[in-house]
């Protein structure tokens, strides 16, 4: 039973990353109509950012949790202003191709300087050790990742669904021209939205650094799984992406316990099943 709970926890952690990444993808897709293929590369940049902050500037985990997403977010906003913006009005697929190219560049540059092996990043002192819950041993850091991700996801949901800023954002998603007519700076909003989505990816990267090590290709395979998550859940609903992300992580964890050979593929198989039964995805609002 210990092993089952341990795998469930691993599943929840992976689920946190799926949720944070698919949430960012959904937010970006809503405003920019672009599927951000560079999301995995930006997640990796978040982890590297934390690594550099620690090893070059001596800045620890807690400040990095805020600084890394901001830095990577700024990098994302520069990408949006210089390149993505120029794709407005073109077919959606060009956005996919452009961001794929950006992902290749970013990953290739990091691979050149850091190879393919992982760099260690220590767990912050406050979160080391674990608690014995009676039925299982819970490493504090892992518990922290799950709880913190959940809080961030819900905060993002609150920001978009319940605040005035979010209302403007949703309105601009529906009809940008009309929202501009009300005097709201939509292009700036689009840039900030991309920054927000990218920031969430970088945050996931910082969270994963102590668990998965910091590797140039850490986001490359992950992003494909996240795409499958997005296909399953659809990008129409924020809450939907969060729930789908966490549940798929848990299912993956359970598979790792009961039938480890299929743990790599279970998300893709589920995607196929969902497409066969409910082609529009679980939330049913997808194109």
């Amino acid at each position: 039973m210990q092993a089952l709970y341990a795998q469930l926890l691993v599943g929840l952690i992976n689920g946190s990353f799926y949720a944070l990444l698919s949430l960012g993808l959904a937010v970006i897709f809503g405003m920019l109509n672009i599927i951000n293929f560079a999301h995995g590369a930006l997640y990796m940049m978040g982890a590297f950012c934390a690594y550099f902050l620690l090893n070059i500037a001596g800045i620890g985990y807690w400040p990095a949790l805020i600084i890394a997403p901001i830095l990577v977010g700024i990098f994302g906003m520069i990408l949006e202003r210089t390149m993505l913006q120029r794709l407005a009005g073109l077919d959606h697929l060009y956005g996919l191709l452009l961001t794929f190219g950006i992902a290749l560049i970013v990953q290739g540059v990091f691979q050149n300087y850091f190879g393919s092996s992982g760099l260690p990043y220590a767990i912050p002192e406050e979160l080391r050790g674990g608690i014995n819950l009676g039925f299982m041993f819970l490493p504090i850091y892992r518990g922290w990742v799950v709880v913190f991700s959940l809080v961030v996801c819900l905060a993002t949901w609150y920001l978009i669904e319940k605040t005035r800023l979010g209302a403007n954002l949703r309105a601009a998603t529906e009809n940008p021209t009309l929202v501009r007519a009300f005097g709201i700076n939509v292009p700036r909003m689009i840039t900030l939205t991309y920054g927000l989505g990218v920031g969430l990816a970088a945050l996931a990267g910082v969270l994963s650094a102590p668990i998965n090590q910091v590797r140039p290709l850490m986001g490359a395979d992950l992003i494909i799984v996240v795409f499958a998550v997005v296909v399953i859940g659809g990008m129409g609903s924020i809450l939907g992406s969060i729930i789908t992300g966490f549940s798929l992580g848990v299912i993956e964890g359970l598979t790792k316990y009961f039938y480890p050979e299929a743990s790599n593929t279970v998300v893709f198989v589920l995607m196929v099943l969902v497409l066969l039964v409910k082609p529009a995805g679980l939330t049913g609002r997808a194109a």
Partner: protein
């Protein structure tokens, strides 16, 4: 979907004649390659990828479907042909048949699943499906995991042509490429191709006109996947191995890149693009990981400034569709 290609020029008998002339010139030039100093292995490899890119282009250029998983057909056909040739001791023609049949069957299944969604979702689904196959091949015993299938015997095609001789192999690969190319060319210029273009431009309207668009898209997907598989089987004889690189998503990306560089939705663009990218890889082989960076830069540059691609630009300049 209309923004994806620059296909505003109507297909006139004159355009058809132009294309046939270019095709003849291409066939003659490629036929003369063994007389020159050009390394035949390079051209054979480029021809396999050119056919692969043409098959991919059938979907994106004429059906508006961007597949980000075409490596799965290349890899599946490669593995199946290699296994049949090496382990079962099949003759080359039967080996190719096994590979083509396998990729054909795969394209029926994956096509049925992926055409259920459109646009960006279609791309994500094909990518996810090819990643699923990647993990299956990584674990399946017959692919030998990271090692791949190596030292594949080339044998005698139809019992006469000795494929171990580079010049014979070259003409066999060339014949395979030209045959596959003509098949795609024929499909594009048939009533089927016209319906496909109509679906690309405005799917709801095609539906309202009574076309069962899903059947057309599925047929295009099967055709594309099967021809891509044929290219994969041919490549087995050239490279004499089948490995995980051929199923990886980076390979799918390369296929997209070749077509983008040459020109999406142009007849000859994928061929030009494949030669450009393969030549680049040959010349930059010493730069290691920087090749990936350069490919990324080409992607970005093409999307931002050069969306018509090489052949598309030439065609636009000459006011012809090529």
């Amino acid at each position: 979907m209309s923004a994806m290609t620059d296909d505003t020029l109507p297909v006139t008998p004159r355009a058809m004649r132009d294309e046939m002339l270019v095709f003849a010139a291409m066939a003659v030039l490629l036929g003369l390659v063994p007389l020159t100093d050009i390394y035949p292995f390079f051209v054979m490899q480029a021809l396999c990828f050119a056919l692969l890119a043409c098959a991919f282009n059938l979907l994106i250029g004429y059906g508006g479907l961007l597949s980000f998983g075409h490596a799965m057909f290349l890899g599946t056909a490669g593995y199946c042909s290699a296994h049949a040739l090496k382990v079962w001791g099949f003759t080359p023609e039967l080996g190719i048949l096994v590979g083509v049949a396998a990729s054909g069957a795969l394209s029926v299944v994956t096509g049925y699943i992926s055409i259920r969604r459109q646009g960006i979702y279609f791309s994500m689904i094909t990518l996810a499906l090819s990643q699923l196959l990647y993990f299956i091949y990584l674990q399946a015993p017959f692919t030998h995991g990271e090692d791949g299938i190596q030292g594949i015997p080339q044998g005698y095609l139809f019992g006469i042509f000795n494929l171990a001789q580079p010049i014979v192999l070259y003409y066999v690969v060339l014949a395979g490429f030209l045959g596959g190319f003509l098949l795609i060319f024929r499909a594009i210029n048939s009533p089927f191709g016209e319906v496909l273009k109509a679906i690309r431009e405005n799917e709801p309207r095609a539906v309202s006109l009574g076309y069962k668009t899903d059947q057309y898209k599925l047929l295009a997907f099967i055709l594309s996947g099967t021809i891509a598989g044929f290219a994969g089987s041919l490549k087995v004889f050239v490279a004499q191995n089948a490995s995980l690189t051929d199923v990886h998503w980076t390979m799918s990306g390369e296929i997209v890149l070749m077509t983008l560089v040459g020109g999406l939705g142009t007849v000859f663009g994928p061929v030009v693009g494949a030669f450009v990218i393969i030549a680049m890889q040959h010349n930059l082989a010493g730069f290691g990981q920087w090749v990936l960076v350069i490919q990324g830069v080409i992607f970005v540059a093409c999307v931002l400034t050069f969306r018509r691609g090489i052949v598309g630009e030439i065609g636009h300049y000459l006011k012809r569709s090529l």
